[in-house]
Symmetry: C2
Subunit: 404 residues, 2 copies
């Protein structure tokens, strides 16, 4: 009889956003329109340079002389080179160390595969749920405890006490997920802390999976854009970045993962390059990203694309600023929102996360994401996403004002 | 210290096509141009209806009113419904049972994840390498033996003795990979044999992973287009299909997987729906296919798209027919090539596969794929892929004639 992967049974109920969708569907709407400050989806149309690149590539593929079938699994060199030349121009990452894929989500979920099940995993708490769930599915955890945590995982609490920063643990861990600027708290990691993490990883021969999906939003000079700005990081860290949140590729699907050649693991069988292992996985289980989508991503590195990207980031930064100031004026305690389009808002009157979520949804028809959905330390917070239209943000603040 | 997934070390050398690429790169070219009858990549430009759909979708995404961000992980309903209405019109598969993804390769490689490591796996021999390699990586095999087979796997020999059909084994297996029309042999499975397999799976409470990537090429009335044409198959089989080989999506990336709601597994923990498990995996580890690519796939179900697809299939079928007849006239023993664009050719003079591969490459500058690369029973064969231009096929036959 066929046997199932029993680790899936350990997963906690519905996936967070699926649960939110359910509550939205069940909501009896009143006259107000719903304002979505929940899921971090892009809301502006694709930049003109991206639309042109997509159409141009479609045309190319309709001609016998320029049709493209299978591309390299790791991505076209034109895109990998553009990334190396622009995003890593001062860090010396070569095109060959960059793998193009169809989403930071997928890469972050799949990277754990090249590591043994026995590794001890550390994740920030609260965290982007995929870090945890992909490890639950792979069998790297025990069961879900009544505390809301999984046995066998090291949680790195990001609370008011730690300034919402994940601190290196006292004990030993092997595989460390870091996200900066952080989703959901919107807080960027300081250079000095990131250095402590790189030092920890070197000392413990651990590997850091560094999620920089929101890198484009960084404004604080003290927050590094890449983990490779820290000396020695190339020997211990994999970095993942995405075009989703910077240029609105949530519906186009393109991201990249950097695995430096220096990143090597020594074991009884010899010295292994993580680059080689991931390449093997890519070659076997992935067939590359659509050519038109890679052309679209490459358009972001043209002068028009750079200009459009900059304007878009500025626009979202402004919305986040307005929301942040507005919430503060209304007396809310807010964090993040400077280096990311997310605001981490403490619930009033010691309400629980889901309670405040339901309250905002029911009374003001505003969707947020309950902090508890991101982990136990998220209890007592909700995440406001600021991708919404400026007039919706203004309207949301007006509704919140009426609730006081 | 971080520990690696040691199962990767069991993988046999380079991935087949990577090894071929290496030999091609090492080749000292003579005056003749290389004719690629190796990798099964599409060669005709994208159909006009696809190019229009891609451009139209790009334009839509450039407008604020029609921009699309995250889509449903399992795909847009417009595409799932078109598939259900057309590809499964007589079989009663609902749109809800169809998952859109970015490649049959990926789905075939990832589906094993929802099953326990302990399952006994059966694969055809020769086989598409991904069935085997993904299971090696997951730890479902022991080491590679001197025979070229992995311990712990049940091989289903497809040889001259079995008419290149995989027969149900005497013993028990849990997870069965079937591919019809088969890659690499190009042979389609007869209805009567497929029924034996469905009966076997029902008796053994096994699950069949049915790869129908080449379904569009089926010409023989005795070869089912879908495993669900067999009674009872919905309770034991998952079917994967692709737009890659039918409509040239190798560079666009789109495929789909069907998991009927009837497909349920009972264990100590209760009754589990494979549809639910795969949806959970999709929701967590995948973020859907690019909207323009899904619109492009949907265009194949318009009257223009259907007409273009039919003409394209006919064109490749004709090329395969010419190649097959030509090889036979030259005295080669050939199989397949009727229900698939692949011809399985016996090597002359008892040459080994790689020997004949090197011979054809060196003497006639023709690339094939050595049968041995697909498994031990592939020894003594090479695969000719017939996606090449008709004039290249004619030229290949002319060169082969000179070698006699």
């Amino acid at each position: 009889m066929v046997k199932l992967n029993h680790h899936y049974q350990k997963l906690s109920g519905s996936y967070l956003f699926t649960e939110i969708e359910k509550r939205l569907a069940a909501l009896k709407r009143n006259k107000k329109t719903l304002i979505n400050l929940g899921v971090g989806d892009f809301t502006r149309p694709l930049f003109p340079s991206i639309v042109s690149a997509l159409s141009e590539a479609a045309k190319e593929m309709g001609e016998a002389t320029s049709f493209r079938g299978y591309g390299p699994c790791e991505g076209y060199l034109f895109l990998r080179q553009a990334i190396a030349d622009n995003d890593y121009k001062n860090i010396e990452i070569s095109a060959d160390e960059i793998f193009i894929s169809d989403g930071a989500n997928c890469d972050i979920a799949n990277l754990q595969e090249i590591f043994a099940v026995e590794n001890r995993v550390a994740i920030p708490d609260p965290t982007y749920p995929v870090y945890l769930d992909s490890n639950v599915m792979a069998g790297r955890t025990r069961h879900l405890l009544k505390t809301g945590t999984y046995g066998g995982i090291t949680y790195l609490p990001c609370s008011e006490e730690t300034d919402f920063q994940p601190l290196p643990p006292m004990g030993h861990v092997d595989l460390i997920y870091l996200c900066s600027p952080n989703n959901p708290t919107g807080v960027g990691m300081e250079r000095s802390l990131l250095k402590r993490w790189v030092d920890y990883a070197r000392e413990h021969e651990a590997v850091i999976l560094f999620d920089g999906a929101y890198e484009a939003y960084i404004q604080s000079p003290s927050v590094p854009h890449s983990i490779y700005e820290i000396e020695g990081a190339k020997e211990v860290a994999i970095e993942v970045r995405s075009f989703s949140k910077s240029a609105g590729f949530t519906g186009l699907r393109c991201s990249y993962t950097v695995i430096p050649h220096q990143l090597k693991i020594r074991d009884a069988g010899g010295v292994h390059s993580l680059h080689g292992l991931w390449k093997r996985r890519h070659d076997t289980k992935f067939n590359g990203v659509a050519y038109p989508v890679q052309k679209a991503a490459a358009a972001l590195y043209t002068s028009a694309g750079k200009r459009e990207l900059k304007a878009s980031i500025a626009s979202f930064a402004e919305r986040t600023h307005v929301m942040r100031e507005g919430l503060q004026k209304l007396g809310y305690n807010v964090y993040g929102g400077i280096d990311a389009p997310y605001i981490w808002c403490k619930t009033p009157k010691q309400m629980k996360s889901w309670e405040f979520f339901d309250y905002l949804l029911g009374e003001a028809q505003i969707t947020t994401v309950p902090g508890r959905g991101f982990g136990p330390s998220g209890e007592g917070f909700v995440r406001f996403s600021c991708f919404a239209d400026p007039k919706h943000i203004a309207e949301a603040l007006a509704r919140l004002k009426k609730l006081r």
